[in-house]
């Protein structure tokens, strides 16, 4: 938005050719220069767009095409036209609706507490604090932990017979919970891994936005005798709305493609998302369709459905932004 360079690319080259038309080396230099000004930018963006097109854009488009065909993992070069067959089948498949429901439920269970906690944490971090860097780094360590490592540890902590969580619950007088095999317990457990990994990261995003809020707003609020809580609700949160919206969208997209946590929480048959598919997400469903039942066309239909959901989220985001702007 700030790129207001007044230079038009051809101006530096033009006078040179005009003043020195007879001098062959200079004019060759000028021609080279003009050529460079014209094509240089494309040379700079070419590596990015080459990789981006081959490995991101084309696969995405091809996914849409393949979702209309019957393709098997065992003979991927044979593609038969199937029309909307895969989609019709998908809509009739209770396991698809189950995966969609699980994705939404786990998405809400993980996104809402995560962002609310992050907001509160950022508020705490925003005060004058001793060892500020220590707190920030400590809260960011879960972000450095990979999905795989985190899920392996949490699976052990949530173990039915000898897990630490059940041991603590037992000490508090509550019965042991079969975390993996229960429906809600498993969804909660999977969500808790997401919350654990991303809360600190989001807190730092909010903190960055809070530091950009002008001091005068707080000063005048303080003069009005507003308490810290009131300052938080009436100064901080409204100023942070764009950032909050941004994190909501990013977390929602993350929740839509949730994969590693439920896969590894499920142990050996993880792609099923539990014995009765109670925590199978859309990502796992896609994986199972493609790599365990070998129907690549169906897997693509799932992927393309996820893409449509994504567009829906993006549209919602656009609408919300417009509404916010109207508000002031």
């Amino acid at each position: 938005m700030t790129a207001t360079s007044p230079a038009t690319p051809t101006t530096p080259a033009a006078p040179t050719t005009g003043t020195l038309p007879q001098d062959p080396p200079a004019s060759r230099g000028a021609r080279l220069h003009r050529w460079d000004v014209r094509w240089g930018p494309y040379a700079l963006i070419a590596p990015f767009f080459l990789f981006f097109a081959v490995f991101t854009l084309l696969p995405l488009l091809y996914t849409g095409w393949a979702s209309l065909h019957r393709i098997e993992l065992t003979a991927p070069e044979r593609a038969e036209w199937a029309g909307l067959h895969h989609y019709a089948r998908l809509l009739r498949n209770p396991l698809f609706w189950n995966a969609l429901r699980n994705t939404l439920v786990i998405g809400v269970l993980s996104t809402v507490p995560q962002l609310l906690t992050a907001l509160a944490l950022a508020h705490l971090l925003h005060s004058r604090l001793r060892a500020a860097t220590f707190w920030r780094v400590a809260l960011l360590t879960p972000y450095a932990t990979s999905v795989a490592a985190a899920t392996l540890v949490f699976s052990l902590l949530y173990g039915r017979d000898h897990g630490l969580v059940n041991w603590v619950l037992g000490a508090l007088g509550a019965g042991p919970v079969d975390w993996q095999n229960g429906t809600w317990s498993a969804r909660l457990a999977v969500s808790s891994i997401v919350v654990w990994r991303w809360t600190g990261y989001n807190a730092l995003l909010y903190l960055a936005a809070m530091q950009a809020v002008p001091d005068e707003l707080y000063e005048s609020a303080e003069l009005d005798g507003a308490s810290r809580t009131r300052q938080f609700l009436h100064v901080t949160v409204p100023s942070l709305r764009p950032t909050i919206l941004f994190t909501v969208v990013v977390s929602t997209i993350g929740a839509l493609q949730l994969f590693g946590e439920p896969l590894l929480f499920g142990g050996a048959g993880g792609q099923k998302g539990g014995a009765s598919h109670q925590f199978q997400t859309l990502g796992l469903f896609l994986y199972e369709q493609g790599w365990f039942t070998y129907h690549l066309g169906r897997a693509c239909a799932v992927a393309w459905t996820m893409f449509l959901l994504l567009l829906l989220i993006a549209t919602g985001h656009g609408l919300a932004r417009r509404l916010l702007r109207k508000d002031g």
Partner: protein, 278 residues
């Protein structure tokens, strides 16, 4: 970053208590990974679970390193994440510069395309990507996970935003008037100005690549895994010993944790900077 809101009260004991609680929750699973990795699997199958270190850590680490292939996996991951970070930084810096400071036909639609697809998760294209790699004969090889991750739309946008602010247009023009060609401008003007943002982007890309999950799990096998693929193998029961699994999780996490501890301020600063630009 050191400027703090002057009108802001300093933290009271309650603030510290709350922060300490959240920090404990953040660190506990990692600490407990180390605790669990220092016992044998028989001890982990007894109640109450261990809360302090036992004596089996070296043995478990050794088994995880050799039998579970974590040694190879770590070497592979360093190679993959390093290449990805380097490639992302280079490609995105020059492209970001072109979008920030150069005029060329089609720059606006191309930038819109980049920003518009920034949020699309690459995992939606896994099936064609898998077929492509199989056709090229690269399935199971490291380049199958390096190439698709080598550039990032976010990186281009991030560098463009940064250079729009940090690189004065006059500087580029002055170099141009002196007759410097694009390559010289990039080398002598753009790269020095972009260095702080390049460091941030490099760190973020490295962490992201290190922890990349879906595509590596699909594309690679246990014969030649990255850390995440090897840990997935552990988690799916290829090695039934829980203590060894925890030792593997510890090995796979330790390098990044050490980097975070050493570069703490830079990394938190980088995340916060990335937030403002994104």
């Amino acid at each position: 970053m050191t400027t703090r809101a002057r009108g802001h009260s300093s933290a009271g004991p309650l603030t510290y208590a709350a922060l300490a609680l959240v920090t404990a929750v953040s660190l506990f699973p990692l600490l407990w990974t180390a605790v669990a990795a220092s016992h044998d699997s028989a001890r982990l199958a007894r109640t109450p679970p261990p809360l302090w270190f036992g004596g089996h850590l070296p043995h478990n680490l050794r088994v995880a390193w050799t039998d579970a292939g974590l040694g190879l996996a770590l070497a592979n991951t360093v190679l993959v994440a390093g290449t990805v970070a380097l490639g992302t930084v280079l490609c995105c810096t020059v492209a970001g510069f072109a979008f920030a400071r150069l005029r060329f036909r089609g720059s606006r639609p191309l930038l819109l395309l980049t920003v518009g697809t920034m949020m699309v998760p690459p995992q939606l294209g896994v099936v064609p990507l898998f077929l492509l790699m199989a056709r090229l004969g690269w399935a199971g090889e490291l380049r199958a996970v390096v190439l698709p991750a080598l550039v990032s739309a976010f990186g281009v946008f991030f560098m463009r935003q940064y250079l729009s602010g940090a690189l004065p247009a006059e500087l580029v023009e002055a170099a141009r008037v002196d007759g410097a060609h694009t390559g010289r401008v990039v080398w002598h003007v753009v790269l020095p100005a972009a260095r702080p943002a390049m460091v941030v982007l490099g760190m973020l890309s490295f962490v992201q690549s290190w922890n990349d999950f879906f595509w590596p799990v699909v594309a690679l096998t246990q014969e030649n895994p990255t850390v995440q693929v090897a840990l997935t193998g552990l988690g799916r029961g290829y090695v039934p010993d829980q203590a060894v699994v925890m030792a593997g999780a510890l090995l796979g996490t330790l390098p990044l944790l050490l980097a975070f501890a050493l570069l703490g301020r830079r990394i938190t600063g980088g995340v916060m900077q990335g937030a403002l630009k994104g």
